[in-house]
């Protein structure tokens, strides 16, 4: 097992007028080369922030980040520029993440221009190659984003991420803004590119069906904390954390003959500002006890299946 990206006790806090917001708190996991790690959770759980901290779009508050075994938590700007060639991001909103005044070709080749290593001719050749790879028609080469539909824009966003042949791509809700028929096209494209180029993905989404479909491993987050992580199949077969169980049961199913037992959660996500120690899900959890208010630790409950919950064995009769 060789991991491409690893984070240990990663923290990201934001200072806000109301106090310190713990967006990512003590998160550890690793992503194997060529695999997809799904990060799933509801809004405000810190999943997007996590992706941004890893690729240094935001500075971390604590903990460490490793890329190909090397500690990249603190890097100078020259090193960072080199690193960024290998770590890219695809954003959720294909409308606001493209520069409206740049053509498709300019957008895709901008990273090449910045690198300074490509001649004009090489850049054009790269644009050809990438456009073919992401399925953008040659005639759209000089089109502007406003002339494209959402699916094509997202393809341009993917094309831009592929320039300079990165190893790692953070996909931040890349299909959430798209209609189902288009979203399926983009998901297939991402899978094909992974097979072809051996890419490693960190796939951030709130959509459990999508994350199950695309991921090899999954991390479930709640209010900045990692609550459960395991291989994708295992997680959906044996969700162990009460939050994961509720989350999976909440997804509406198209199977009209087997309506599943739904675990309804009371209340809503509490504030991540100055959180109390202990499990942040405790307030909504049906199994809350005194011990839940103490700091919790990630524990391997089943092989390769880690959970942060002091009552997990008891709840699942393990």
């Amino acid at each position: 097992m060789s991991s491409l990206v690893e984070v240990k006790n990663l923290k990201k806090y934001f200072e806000t007028p109301r106090g310190m917001l713990h967006a990512v708190d003590d998160v550890s996991f690793s992503i194997e080369k060529g695999k997809t790690m799904g990060i799933v959770g509801e809004s405000g759980c810190g999943k997007s922030t996590l992706g941004r901290v890893i690729i240094h779009l935001l500075d971390s508050t604590g903990g460490s980040i490793y890329f190909e075994g090397e500690d990249i938590t603190e890097v100078n700007s020259r090193k960072l520029r080199k690193l960024r060639e290998n770590m890219k991001i695809i954003f959720q909103d294909p409308f606001s993440s493209l520069n409206p005044r740049m053509t498709v070709e300019q957008t895709i080749t901008e990273p090449l221009t910045i690198s300074g290593r490509y001649s004009k001719k090489q850049r054009q050749e790269e644009a050809d190659r990438i456009m073919a790879m992401v399925g953008i028609d040659q005639r759209l080469r000089v089109s502007y984003p406003h002339e494209l539909d959402g699916g094509r824009r997202q393809r341009v966003g993917i094309g831009r991420a592929l320039a300079l042949n990165p190893k790692f791509i953070v996909c931040d809700e890349p299909v959430s803004a798209l209609d189902v028929s288009i979203s399926a096209q983009v998901l297939n494209l991402l899978q094909d590119l992974q097979d072809e180029l051996g890419l490693t993905y960190m796939f951030v989404t709130h959509d459990l069906s999508v994350v199950r479909h695309i991921s090899d491993d999954i991390c479930v987050m709640y209010l900045g904390q990692l609550v459960e992580t395991s291989p994708s199949k295992e997680l959906f077969k044996h969700p162990l954390h009460p939050y994961t169980q509720a989350l999976i049961s909440a997804v509406p199913t198209i199977d009209i003959h087997h309506q599943k037992e739904r675990i309804l959660l009371e209340g809503e996500i509490t504030s991540p500002i100055h959180p109390k120690p202990g499990c942040r899900f405790a307030k909504r959890c049906n199994y809350m006890c005194k011990e839940c208010l103490q700091p919790q630790h990630l524990e391997e409950i089943l092989p390769n299946h880690f959970v942060v919950c002091c009552r997990v064995r008891e709840i699942n009769s393990l």
Partner: protein, 334 residues
């Protein structure tokens, strides 16, 4: 044309809605017809721009005119054609007999008005009662949807997204409407909150015996709350029937495409089967079947002729000439 049962509460007939923009005519709704029985829930499923919201807004007559115009059709609610009555009469129906839950709770509420007031305003408008009583009812309504009554003095920004949507629902149900139009009521919400809100809508619907039209792009949501549904594409119903008919025996190539394109929680799919191509430009709809450019089964006739909605099974309608029944299944013969 179909199930004209005695208990039909709402009947939409050949509804046509057009928008005019920069001299171009956008064909948003092109002859939509369906019936809704009292106490039942009817689902309208489709992708962005399919005409779902325009249909719902036409029923309430709240389409922005200009640019939108209802060009034809009938909307018969309880024996009365809503398209023929005056605006004054319509105003009595809105919020009282028919009300709507909008998709985005953030923009559906007035940010500078206390939530309690926003609810009592509806109640006061339709009932000849003093303000004090209207306020009391508003507080009761908030409690009904699971918000503590003392929060009625708060402003929308003090509520979370899920709570705001509850306020919107409380407002929609304040005058016990007989018909509720729910336009993607849970799309802006997280799944655990969505589950809470759907559960609540289902319960309130039962308590008040409300009929409902549920608009959604999410097949799962429709499966959970609807009795009957229509799949809508390019402003036309392409498939219509009971939930069982459509989910167990989907027939139209577009419906099949939708099912193939959604990743499933229950089963392993190596690859999704997306529908190729893009939805058509509603100002230049393709001739013949509007789905023909994306349809793997399209043949000569599909490119030229207007395809009628036909009954392929009891109460199960499909707008496709190529679907035939074979051994209890709908198939398209090659």
């Amino acid at each position: 044309m179909m199930m004209s049962k005695n208990d039909t509460f709402l009947s939409v007939r050949d509804l046509v809605v057009e928008y005019t923009a920069e001299g171009q005519v956008i064909h948003a709704v092109n002859g939509v017809s369906f019936d809704l029985e009292r106490g039942k829930t009817f689902g309208l499923v489709g992708e962005t721009g399919a005409g779902k919201t325009s249909t719902a807004r036409a029923i309430l007559r709240i389409l922005p005119d200009p640019p939108a115009k209802i060009r034809g059709g009938e909307i018969i609610l309880d024996g009365e054609d809503l398209l023929k009555i005056s605006e004054k009469e319509m105003r009595k129906i809105r919020g009282r007999k028919v009300s709507m839950i909008f998709q985005d709770p953030m923009t559906a509420l007035n940010p500078i008005m206390k939530v309690g007031e926003q609810i009592s305003e509806v109640i006061k408008m339709h009932n000849d009662i003093p303000w004090r009583e209207a306020n009391e009812r508003a507080v009761k309504m908030l409690e009904r949807v699971g918000i503590p009554g003392d929060r009625s003095e708060e402003y929308p920004h003090q509520f979370s997204g899920g709570m705001k949507q509850r306020v919107v629902i409380a407002m929609a149900l304040a005058c016990s409407p007989e018909l509720l139009l729910a336009d993607e009521p849970t799309t802006a919400l997280d799944v655990t909150i969505q589950a809470q809100v759907l559960e609540m809508i289902n319960k309130l619907k039962k308590d008040f015996n409300t009929s409902m039209i549920m608009i959604s792009h999410n097949l799962g949501v429709v499966a959970e709350v609807c009795d009957d549904l229509a799949v809508i594409y390019a402003g036309e119903i392409v498939e219509l029937g009971s939930k069982e008919a459509v989910f167990d025996h989907p027939a139209h190539p577009y419906t099949l495409g939708l099912f193939g394109a959604v990743p499933s929680l229950a089963e392993e799919k190596d690859r999704l089967n997306p529908i190729s191509g893009l939805p058509p430009d509603p100002s230049h709809l393709p001739e013949g079947c509007h789905f023909n450019p994306r349809c793997p089964y399209a043949q000569e006739q599909c490119l030229k002729e207007k395809i009628p909605l036909r009954e392929i099974g009891p109460g199960h309608f499909c707008r496709c000439i190529r679907v035939t029944e074979k051994e209890g299944k709908y198939v398209i013969l090659g």
